[in-house]
Amino acid sequence: MKRGDVDHPSATAAEEASSAKRQCTSGLSLAVVMEQSADHKTKKYDRQLRLWGDHGQAALEKARVCLIGATATGTEILKNLVLPGLGSFCIVDSETVKMGDLGSNFFVTAQDIGGFRAEAATRLLLEMNSDVKGQYMTDTLESLVANRPSFFQHFTIVIAADVPSEKLLLDLGRILWPVGIPLVACRAYGLVGWIRIVCREHFVTESKPDNFIQDLRLDTPFPELVALKDSVDFGAMTKKAHSHVPFVIILLAFLEKWKTLRGSLPTTYQDKVKFREFVDEGRLKNDDGIPLAEENFEEACKAVVKTVGVSKVPDEIERLFRDPACDNLTIFSPKFWIVIRAIRDFTVGAEGAGHLPVSGALPDMFSDTESFVHLQNVYKAKADSDAAAVYAKVCQLNRDLGLSEDFISLSEVKYYSRNAAFLRCVRTTSLEEELGEGSSVAAGLTGFSVDDPDFRNSLWYVMLRAVSHFHNQTGVLPGLEHKTYEEDAVQLKVFAQKFMKAVGVVDGFRELAGDEVVARYAREVARFGGEQVHSVAAFVGGTVGQEVIKLITGQYVPLNNTLVYDATACTTSTFQF
């Protein structure tokens, strides 16, 4: 088996050609190549484009992922990235295919036994999607980390699957942390799964929170919106027109009336309930004085509690504004922070007057098309002018920093501006902080009760750490040999207790994790004998797949920072270590 010497696995065609020796070509028939039209892709990826959009797909197709460990877990993860059309991957694995792999790893075959696992996995993974490029390295992780650390710097994300040595993980973390490349470490061990995300700074542009409430600026309408509202005269309308006024206009008009009557806008819940009745009173009545069923008014009433009085900068965005990175811009600052600064300047300045740029999006509403389009155009025009104001500030900041004025394009700024309420910055602890001296683990292990699935899962975490110590001391995994199973279990218990002592778990946790409890978990983990259970690998593979796609697309907020899965109870818990 020949190893390539190229240090830069990259997706460009020229380099691809020069490293053709390492390139797997099987599975790339002519027919498949011919199908790579945009239309074909749209069809093939239709079901996922409806989740993350064309821009999410574009990010995925540009991404380069390094997988360390073509284990069952590792190949399951890559399967979930190759199928949706990842740009390229490179597998690092020095192991050969053994009988044991066949029982749990879908991406090796009996014919591959004795060959490199990385080669088999790369070949079989590429068969699934001809849009994806793949390479492999058969160097050991140890030698790459020691001799060619720059190798890892060319990837969008590095995934470490089932790496048993904490020391190696730490070394890898030390390479990636300073250059800001996210590392996802994970493991499927017996009936337990573990996932850890390490990213120094990850920018989310579309957090897509649950239950998000659109800020329609009802309490602080901008002049164009006021003008539109004033142009609507509820008194001089046909029945039909009255029942087709968009609820936004209804609320604006009634808020103004309310304010005239009461002197202030409804802010408390009680006030809002009264205001809702006030709006409901506004429905047209028939000749007998019975209010007509007007759907737009129903909508307006429903929307009162949620949409009235929410016009303020969300806490998450306030926190971004207060972040030192927003104040201390340098020529090396990521675009994200330059734009955040511009949005902050806009918001606190005269243009925003305390408000984020208007997004331009409207919720669905009952209306005739004409009124809706009119309303939408007003919001859209305001969104455009706000984005333009932010852009002017971005240009100025770029100039001040000594960057080219068009370092950030108008369309980028528009995108940020539109999503201003959805911007997030995620920073996890480093592996150093978790695995190194002065560990941050103890703080994450608090607040449990004995029946709590989170407690059980925290014990699994402790046991996995003990397994690493066991491996470090003995060079093998506990329970591998049937005859030493009992001994190993005892040894594992000792390691677990040592670990808890070393990280200084709080008294409450120590009481729950008594001698007997730890012994029981240790026996269970020793019984796993280091075996991989495929269905656990499938779960970890699915979950890591989702997290990696989040990190690549900037959509949704990634896990911060640890997830433990218990396949016996089917529970998951997240921890911040």
């Binding site: 064309d54 997004s359 009124s371 389009v373 155009n377 699915g542 818990s573």
Partner: protein, 639 residues
């Protein structure tokens, strides 16, 4: 060893039946084989499509068009040559897959995508007394639960998710949302080119209740409503009398003639029903000649609704692809003409067509028709991409969710084989989502909601021992066909029912032998001497032991759009009341989740100038301290 030797042996010798070889199915087959299952039968009626390839990894581009069951079995055998894998490329709802067939398995695994088949397999497993594992996925959401006959809740114990249906009058007379026009367009397709369904009439409906005076409380009289099948009040020749299909045939499917009928004459006829437009905006008729005369450039003005989209709706940017552009009216008219010609040719060649969202011409037709009708009614027109999502009930799908769900199925399957019912769970999974760290910095978020299996619901029409139910309906007007389709097949979920009078005569009302072709199907129930209080015995001929006795209660005051109303079902013999499980809340979520999985497509469609009735969830209390995080609880609102 992760599994003890006994469990490993049970796995290796278990005989399992896998229903469905799609998104979850591919993952499941792989998981089964790699867990040690060696005797698998699988069934799937579908063939492989290009849009499957982003997740159904047992299939490659060269397999497009081939049966899923066959290729999945073939791939499975490549992975594991020593396994025994039998496949069926056909529907599971068939007499040959009878109770005896189901009885041969130790375990049945559902990996289906529709409620009808899920319900059917559920019943077969109950009849054969075999454990079933049910599962589903939609976008980033997934679920999985085990079902044990008589011990735990079955698939039908929960009332079916409310199917989003629309009153016929809204579809035929007064559409107000794009979806109304899309549904109408699909109906029109079936009327013109497919198997016509009388329930899917597309012509103006003269029996519209809102034609009644002040039609709000149903007490009005037929003042001013045009006569059924009569000439119209304005003197325009009625288009109601002869069917749409006959008209199309008589004009040789001339596209211009059809256009004029659908978007000029029928609209004009609707306009003549003045009552309809007292409180509504009047539709406008389209002039096909004028539309076609105008130069295209003018007609294709940019549509504002297609541009920026809100953040939470899938986030796709507009304009990147032709499919996402909203056509102008001229373009819609041209596509209409072109697609009618194309479909006419197919009809002549192949006979009746079946609408398929992935058939380009059929999709073009529905897009153009829906948009043209929207134009008549002042409703926003949409892109082909959006209409496809709504018309095809498309569920977003990715490999990762299916991988997670299939992992859970194995967890439950292993517990079933170990005979450990209490180790089986009802599991709901979702992606890790944004917490609100400002208010709850220490909260641990779970990505799965796990609950114990519920006990069966007393009176469940599927899993109770013997069932007696009461149904309210209008005996004088409901036809045998309606009773069969909506009550016996729809509500009682029987696949091939036999229905007879539960008296000495035992007179047969519906026979499964007729397969829906019986003579008296258009007669009302009253025709058979059925009256208030009559009892009917309903049996499913595909099941040995499934019988429901229905007592009919006449009620002439049912709401216009209501065909029947079930009274509370009761069961012979006592069943324990459901006990409150520690994870009580998971049930509510599960229901909501299943609704999303089972009735997708409709809920999330937006950027339309209309609607949004189900978004009033902000006042729900949160911060409950037991078991599940709020994160999981709130999953119903958006995905």
């Amino acid at each position: 060893m992760a599994f003890d030797p006994q469990t490993a042996h049970s796995i290796a010798t278990a005989k399992v039946f896998m229903v469905g070889a799609g998104g979850i199915g591919c993952e499941l087959l792989k998981n089964l084989l790699l867990t040690g299952f060696r005797d698998i039968q699988l069934i799937d009626l579908d063939t492989i499509e290009v849009s499957n390839l982003n997740r159904q990894f047992l299939f490659r581009s060269e397999h497009v068009g081939k049966p899923k069951a066959e290729i999945a079995a073939q791939s499975g055998l490549e992975l594991c040559p020593e396994a025994k894998i039998t496949f069926y490329h056909e529907s599971v709802i068939q007499a040959k897959f009878n109770v005896k067939f189901f009885s041969q398995f130790d375990l049945v695994l559902n990996a289906l995508d529709n409620a009808a088949a899920r319900s059917h397999v559920n019943r077969m497993c109950l009849a054969a007394d075999r454990p079933l594992i049910e599962s589903g996925s939609s976008g980033y959401l997934g679920n999985c639960k085990a079902i044990f006959k008589g011990k735990t809740e079955c698939f039908d114990c929960q009332p079916p998710a409310p199917q989003k249906t629309f009153p016929g009058c809204t579809i035929r007379n007064t559409p107000s949302e794009p979806i109304h026009c899309i549904v109408w367009a699909k109906h029109l397709f079936n009327q013109l080119f497919g198997e016509a369904d009388p329930d899917q009439d597309v012509s103006p409906n003269t029996a519209d209740p809102s034609l009644l005076v002040d039609g709000q409380n149903g007490t009005g009289h037929h003042n001013g409503a045009p006569h059924q099948n009569g000439s119209s009040p304005t003197g325009i020749a009625s288009t109601v009398a002869i069917s749409t299909r006959e008209q199309a045939v008589s004009c040789g499917y001339n596209a211009i003639t059809l256009f004029e009928k659908l978007f000029r004459d029928d609209i004009a006829y609707l306009l003549s029903m003045e009552k309809l437009w007292e409180k509504r905006r009047k539709p406008v008729v389209l002039d096909v000649q004028a539309i076609l005369r105008e130069p295209q450039a003018i007609l294709q003005e940019p549509q504002p609704l297609d541009s920026d989209r809100s953040n939470g709706d899938g986030g796709s940017t507009a304009g990147d692809h032709e499919d996402k552009r909203v056509w102008g009216i001229g373009e819609n008219a041209r596509v209409f003409i072109r697609s009618v010609r194309g479909l006419k040719a197919s009809l002549e060649k192949l006979g009746n067509l079946v609408w398929d969202k992935d058939d380009e011409v059929a999709m073009d037709f529905v897009t153009a028709v829906a948009n043209l009708r929207s134009s008549c009614f002042g409703i926003a027109t949409l892109s082909r991409y959006d209409i496809k999502q709504m018309a095809g009930n498309i569920i977003a799908a990715v490999a990762s969710t299916n991988a997670i769900v299939a992992g859970f199925i194995i967890c439950n399957a292993v517990q079933v084989l170990r005979g450990n019912q209490s180790g089986c769970y009802n599991i709901i999974t979702r992606m890790f989502r944004d917490a609100v760290p400002a208010t709850a910095p220490k909260r641990r978020i779970r990505t799965t909601g796990v609950s114990r299996l519920d006990v069966p619901r007393p009176g469940c029409v599927s899993c109770s021992e013997r069932v007696e139910i009461g149904i309210k309906l209008r005996i004088a007007s409901i036809t045998v066909k309606e009773f069969e389709e909506k009550v016996v097949k729809g509500y009682l979920k029987m696949s091939a029912p036999d229905v007879e009078l539960d008296d000495a005569s035992g007179k047969i009302i519906i026979s499964s032998d007729d397969a829906g072709e019986g003579k008296n199907r258009d007669k009302p129930l009253a025709f058979f001497g059925i009256q208030d209080g009559t009892r009917l015995k309903c049996e499913d001929s595909l099941l040995d032991d499934y019988e429901v006795t229905v007592t009919l209660h006449n009620d002439d005051h049912l709401a216009e759009d209501t065909l029947f109303l079930p009274l509370d079902a009761h069961v012979e013999g006592e069943l324990a009341q459901p006990t409150v499980e520690p994870f009580e809340q998971a049930k509510g979520i599960k229901r909501k989740l299943e609704e999303e999985i089972l009735t997708p497509g409709m809920s999330g469609n937006k950027r339309v100038a209309l609607l949004a009735s189900n978004s009033d969830a902000a006042s729900e209390p949160n911060g409950n301290g037991n078991g599940l995080s709020e994160d999981v609880i709130d999953m119903s609102h958006r995905f």
